[in-house]
Point group: C2
Chain length 334, copies 2
């Protein structure tokens, strides 16, 4: 090849190289900067903050951090759909709360009992099947369930900047984990395709299970008993149980993630803790201190003193969702 051809080749591929710069959907600013600086510090072999590859563990909350939790948790929608499906086998639900309200489509009333009501509905609709049957039920649902306002598949309503962040960390030899209050078996069937996170790196709340033989074939049965709630102080417990070492980076969006960030940053060496702040009423929903879902209050107060990075959707993200930037704004909704 002649030198001129080489130069031309360089010019021709330059835009391609630019497109591969990390975090293209993040605006320049202190949030993006803190992420880039952290990754450079822990991956540069000559850096005093260098971290060997096996210890590069990054943990991510799911609802409100990787995908939308508005107007309700996606898993709550799944629960309501399951209640409608299972209603013929439960005539008593017609008059029994919170099921009665759920069946009438009054989700606000069904959820009025708070976490207790949600748990009661989760048990009634998530147990009684084998693990394989439940996986199929979740897969079938996520393949078709769409957000009521946008008409978009829930699995497409994931945050584009966070997808880029997951890729960027993995390209720097991080192992990425989900640590969510949501059901572990509700996330595993689709987390690999949507986030590139395999089932063994998904941590969540779970039911007790039981091994048994049915017609000579072994199955694992999902029992209507809570085994573990992976929320608040449960998150460091879940991390320790599944990962067995302390993460060096943690990403959340609510006070349910506080202890996970606290545990992560209490380790020795350089750490990164990030809170996603939903402050964009135009492109998503603005919510924090007074929200019943994804409440972020203590985190906002303490982030500056603790050196935690707060990401503003409004300022820091060029694009919100994987599919389109404006799908969530009320004006554009169906």
């Amino acid at each position: 090849m002649k030198k001129t051809s080489l130069v031309l080749l360089f010019i021709a591929t330059a835009p391609l190289v630019l497109a591969q710069l990390p975090l293209p959907s993040w605006n320049e600013g202190p949030a993006k900067q803190s992420i880039l600086e952290f990754v450079a510090a822990v991956t540069t072999p000559t850096s005093q903050d260098f971290v060997p590859i096996p210890e590069r563990i990054a943990v991510f909350d799911n609802d409100g951090t990787l995908w939308s939790e508005q107007p309700v948790y996606v898993q709550a929608v799944f629960i309501f759909d399951r209640i409608r499906q299972l209603a013929p086998q439960h005539p008593e639900w017609k008059t029994k709360e919170p099921f009665a309200s759920a069946l009438k489509g009054d989700l606000k009333k069904a959820l009025a009992g708070g976490k207790h009501a949600l748990l009661e509905m989760a048990m009634a609709t998530h147990a009684g099947t084998t693990t394989e049957e439940f996986e199929q039920i979740v897969s079938d649902w996520t393949a078709t369930a769409r957000h009521p306002e946008t008409g978009t598949l829930y699995t497409e309503m994931v945050y584009q900047p966070m997808l880029e962040l997951l890729d960027y960390l993995r390209a720097n030899d991080f192992k990425t984990f989900i640590v969510s209050g949501g059901g572990i078996e509700f996330m595993r069937p689709w987390a690999e395709a949507v986030y590139g996170i395999p089932p063994e790196q998904v941590i969540g709340s779970r039911l007790k299970t039981q091994y048994e033989l049915r017609d000579g074939k072994p199955v694992i049965i999902r029992l209507p008993k809570l085994d573990f709630i992976d929320d608040k102080a449960g998150k460091p417990i879940g991390i320790h149980q599944h990962i067995g070492r302390r993460p060096i980076a943690a990403f959340g969006n609510s006070d349910g993630d506080f202890e996970m960030l606290e545990w992560t940053t209490a380790g020795t060496g350089k750490r990164l803790a990030v809170l996603i702040h939903h402050d964009d009423a135009e492109r998503e929903v603005a919510y924090d201190r007074d929200s019943s879902i994804g409440r972020l209050d203590r985190g906002l107060d303490e982030a500056p003193a603790r050196g935690w990075t707060v990401v503003s959707l409004k300022k820091d993200w060029k694009k919100i969702f994987k599919t389109d930037t404006s799908i969530f704004s009320k004006e554009d909704a169906l």
Copy 2:
């Protein structure tokens, strides 16, 4: 380079290539053959049994499968050492069984109460610390604790053929997991250095834990309550909890591994189930149907009909331990 040099180079490197053939400590025979054939079948892209990389999950029991469990489980020795260490804080142990016998060095009598006695001693010696303190205690112990008959570090008394098998599977893009009845936090501190298995791929029995702040610093406290026993039917449960998908290969040595092999082989597609049979009284200890430790009875009966591979230490392994072949024979003992 001239053609003759190339030929010379080829001849010179040939022995090196031979040395890198898989499983050098395994004798030729049906056991080694079944492993090699399985790996070829699931990793050859044109094979009808091809398995994509993320699904190449292999699970290994630890005691009696990866390291020696004779004359007692290594963790039992650790428990007895901890009892001696903690005795000054527990004057009541002098007269209370099984602690009294343990303190007198009568391990047989201390273990006469079976699993219940062992559990009681495990609770008393494994709880009450933070997770970080316990990790340090285990690391200090494994750095110095030696087998009473051989004088070898326990972490060196690992089976050389199994180390080669772990490497061979990983070289073929398998993810290797430990699934042991032993304590998850007893194995994690050394499994990475000894087996190349990181903490997040170690599954075991565990205590309940609690997150709290001590002097403003978050810690996870180990409580004297069992949370999960990863044995027998607990092994498929532990696998499902931690990995979230069914392994395609499973390796065990006792009836405590039966359900793990049963669960693994009940999946669709090609599967490999292997039982290590301790039949070598010369180089290790011969034990199976009547042993209280590592009892292998149902597994031996059912292996042929189920298509499970039985590995004979005597016939299939050229070398037993990582360090030396004869360290376990009574004649050579200290």
